[in-house]
C-alpha cells in the first residue's frame, strides 16, 4: 500500500465527463489498495472568467477580494469530484483551503504556503476516504482566503504530498510529460523519462509552463517524487509513462543538456550614457526594486571614453511601461542620456546539470547561433543554465538549431 497524491489541472476537469474520467483514475489507485488524496484546479475557463469579472469592475482591485472570488472555482470542482467519486462507490469528501487548513502568508494573489495541517485528512484517508482538496487556495492568519498564483494547484499538490509524506505525487496535465523543448515549435522534441529537480526548476522559471516554479522548488526541498503525466493518455492512445522528477544521482540519462526553454515575456531596456562610476548600477536598480519590478539579465558595457557607459537589462513585458516611468522620474538623479526600450526579444535558455562537469557547453551554444546569423544581445549564466537574449523573430530557428546541436532530436 502506498500513499498517493494526484493533481488534475483545469483541462482535466473541464467538463462533467472529464470529472467522471478523473474519478475513474482515482478509483484505479484506490482499487490498487492505495490511500489517495486528489488536488483539483478550477474547471477550464472558470478562473479566467472570474479574474475577468474582477478586472472589469476595477483594473486595480483589492487582492483580498480577488482571492475570495477566484477561489470559488476550485471549491466547485472539489465538491463535484467528491460527488463523482461517491457515485462510483468511492468514499470521498472535499477539503477547502481553510478547512485543512493550508496556512499561507497574506500576500494575496500570490501567497506562499507556511504550513499544512493534515491530521484530519490522514485519519479519513486511513479509514478509506479519498481527500479531494481544492488546489490554489489557502487561508492567512486573518482568516481570509488566499490564492497561490497562476498554476498554484501544482504547489498545493506538492505541499500536500510533502506533508503527507506521500510515496508519489502525480501531476496530471494536458501534455504527457516534460519535453526537451516546446514540441509545437520543434517537431523532433522528445519526452524526458526523468529530469532532475534542479533542471526542472530552471525549465519552469525560464518559460516552460508544465509546472509552477514554486511547486518544483518545494518538490526539490522535500524530495517529493513528482511525476508529470497526461490525463488523456487513453484518449490519445499514448502509453508513455510521463516524466519523473529525480535527484541528480538517480538521473541515469546523463544528458549534457536536458532541455531548451524560451520566454517571450521579456523586454530589454538600455540606458545610454550612464556615468561610469561605482554605485551607478545600484542607483538605477534601486528605484526599480522599490517599485517591485524584477530585473532579470543585466549587462554593463565596458566604457569607451572612461566617463560614460551603457547599461542594459531585461524586465517582464508587463512591467515595461512602469519601468520606463520609474526611470524617467528618476532621470535627474541617475543622469543617463537616453533610454532605449525593445520588447521584440526572446530569452532562450539551455539547461542541464551536465554543464557542471563539462566545459564548452556555452561555446557550442554561441557557435550554433552565430552559424545561423543570430546576434546575441545579452548573456546570463548559472551553474546549470545559459540564457541568451535574441531578436524574437529568430525564436524557432534558434530552438531547432540548439535542439540539434545538443543531440536532443528524436531518432
Amino acid at each position: 500500500m502506498a500513499r498517493i497524491v494526484q493533481k488534475f489541472g483545469g483541462t482535466s476537469v473541464g467538463t462533467l465527463d472529464r470529472i467522471r474520467n478523473v474519478a475513474r483514475k482515482v478509483e484505479a489507485e484506490v482499487k490498487a489498495g492505495h490511500e489517495v488524496a486528489v488536488v483539483v484546479s478550477a474547471m477550464a475557463g472558470v478562473t479566467n472568467q472570474l479574474v475577468q469579472n474582477c478586472t472589469d469592475l476595477n483594473r486595480i482591485h483589492d487582492p483580498k477580494e480577488y482571492d475570495t472570488v477566484v477561489a470559488a472555482g476550485e471549491q466547485v470542482t472539489s465538491g463535484l469530484l467528491a460527488i463523482a467519486l461517491q457515485t462510483i462507490g468511492i468514499p470521498a469528501r472535499s477539503w477547502l483551503g481553510w478547512q485543512l487548513p493550508l496556512r499561507t502568508d497574506d500576500t494575496h494573489g500570490k501567497a506562499r504556503i507556511l504550513g499544512l495541517d493534515t491530521g484530519a485528512v490522514v485519519e479519513r484517508m486511513a479509514a478509506g476516504e479519498v481527500a479531494v482538496v481544492a488546489g490554489f487556495q489557502g487561508i492567512d492568519a486573518n482568516g481570509r482566503i488566499t490564492t497561490l498564483g497562476r498554476g498554484g494547484s501544482d504547489t498545493s499538490a506538492v505541499a500536500l504530498a510533502a506533508a503527507l509524506n506521500a510515496d508519489r505525487c502525480d501531476i496530471y496535465t494536458d501534455v504527457d510529460g516534460v519535453y526537451t523543448t516546446d514540441p509545437r515549435i520543434v517537431a523532433k522534441a522528445r519526452k524526458l523519462n526523468r529530469i532532475t529537480y534542479e533542471e526542472m526548476l530552471e525549465l519552469a522559471s525560464l518559460g516552460a509552463k508544465v509546472l509552477q516554479t514554486r511547486s518544483v522548488e518545494m518538490a526539490m526541498k522535500h524530495r517529493v517524487p513528482v511525476q508529470v503525466l497526461s490525463s488523456f493518455a487513453e484518449e490519445t492512445g499514448s502509453a508513455l509513462p510521463g516524466t519523473l522528477l529525480v535527484d541528480e544521482d538517480r538521473n541515469v540519462e546523463e544528458l549534457l543538456v536536458s532541455g531548451i526553454a524560451y520566454s517571450r515575456d521579456e523586454a530589454k531596456i538600455t540606458l545610454v550614457g550612464v556615468a561610469d562610476r561605482p554605485g551607478v548600477a545600484a542607483g538605477i536598480l534601486g528605484p526599480l526594486a522599490e517599485a517591485a519590478i524584477n530585473v532579470d539579465m543585466i549587462v554593463q558595457n565596458v566604457s569607451a571614453d572612461g566617463r560614460t557607459t551603457d547599461l542594459t537589462f531585461t524586465v517582464g513585458k508587463a512591467d515595461l511601461d512602469r519601468t520606463c516611468q520609474v526611470l524617467d522620474a528618476a532621470r535627474a538623479g541617475l543622469g543617463y542620456q537616453r533610454l532605449v526600450a525593445d520588447s521584440n526579444v526572446v530569452k532562450v535558455s539551455v539547461i542541464g546539470v551536465g554543464m557542471r562537469s563539462h566545459a564548452g557547453v556555452a561555446q557550442r551554444m554561441f557557435k550554433a547561433l552565430a552559424d545561423r546569423g543570430i546576434n546575441i544581445q545579452v548573456i546570463s549564466t548559472s551553474e546549470i543554465k545559459i540564457s541568451v537574449l535574441i531578436a524574437e523573430e529568430y525564436t524557432e530557428l534558434a530552438l531547432r538549431a540548439l535542439h540539434t546541436t545538443y543531440g536532443l532530436d528524436q531518432a
Copy 2:
C-alpha cells in the same frame, strides 16, 4: 445614524452593471451616515447551473458536497460587490458564512441557523467599512459549509439584521413590494404599504414567493423591521416605497383580508374504503411522516355505512410518486380499497388578521366561489387564513373573484 441591512437577490446582482447599481444603492445609505451590512445572493442563473452540475453527476448526491458546490455562487458575488464598492470609494470587505461565522445545524441543503457572531463585523462597521455578507450559507459544528435552502439569503439577511439589532432590513427584489395577489394574474392587484408579520408568514408559506418563509418567521420572532422593495425602481420609473412588515398594532390599513395566495404545488390523494375506526388516520399518516413527506390539508368523510370511510389529503406535487409508493407498500396494514391521486388541483388561500375579529369571512369566500360554479374539494382554516383546494383550471377565475369580493381591487 442608523444601522441598516440591505439584501439583494440574484436578479439584482445578475450582471456586473447591476452589481455596480447595487454599489450605488449601498453608497446612498453610507453617504446618509448609516452603518451598512449587505447580504447578496448568487448572480442570477449561477445557482441553477451549479445545482444542475451536481444533479447531472448524481441525481441523489451528497448534500454536504452539494452545499460546498452551490455556496460558491454567493462567495463570488460578495467578493465582486466588495470590489465594486471599493471602486467608488466605499471601504468594504466580503464575509463568507464560515468567516462570520453564521452557525447552523447540519441539515445540509436546508440548514437552520443556530447563531451568528457579529463581533468582528460590528467593529469594522463602526470603523466605516461596509460588510458584504454572502447569503444562503453557514457552517456546521463539523466545519462543513451548509446552505439554507432556496431563498435562504432572505433568512441570512433577517438573521443578520436581528443579530446586529438593525434599524431596518431592506430586501431588494425584482418586484416593488408585496401585492394583494399575483399581479400577473389579477391586473387589479395592488401593492400593500404594510402587512403584518403573521399575514406575510401565511402568504409566504401559501405560495407567494416574495420572501422565504423562514425569513418571515425569524423577522416575526425578533421583530425585525423588514421592508420589501424593488432594486429596479429607477429603471422602471416606480417611486413606490415598498412594503413594510409590521406588528399587528401598527397595521393601520385594517383590511379584512390582506392578500390572496395560491399554490399549484399541490396534489390530492384520496384513500377510498378506509375502515372507520379510531387510529386509522394516524396509521396512514405515520408511514408518510417516516418517509419525511409533509401532509397539508386533511379531511375525513363521515362514514355512510358506519364501517368504511374516505380519507383525503394533500402533499407536495414533488412527493406524489413517493407518497403513492409508501401507501402501496403499506396497503395490507392500512386496508384501504382504492387510492385516487389528482395533481390537477390548486390551493387558494385568503389571508388577513382581520378574520380574528370579523365573522363571515369564510362564508363570503365560499359564496364567491359557488357563484362562479367552482367546486371546493377540501377546506382548511387557521386563525388568519382560509385555504380551499379547487380544480386547477379555475385558478385565475377564483383569484379574480376573491380579489373583488374582499374589496382589494385598485381604484
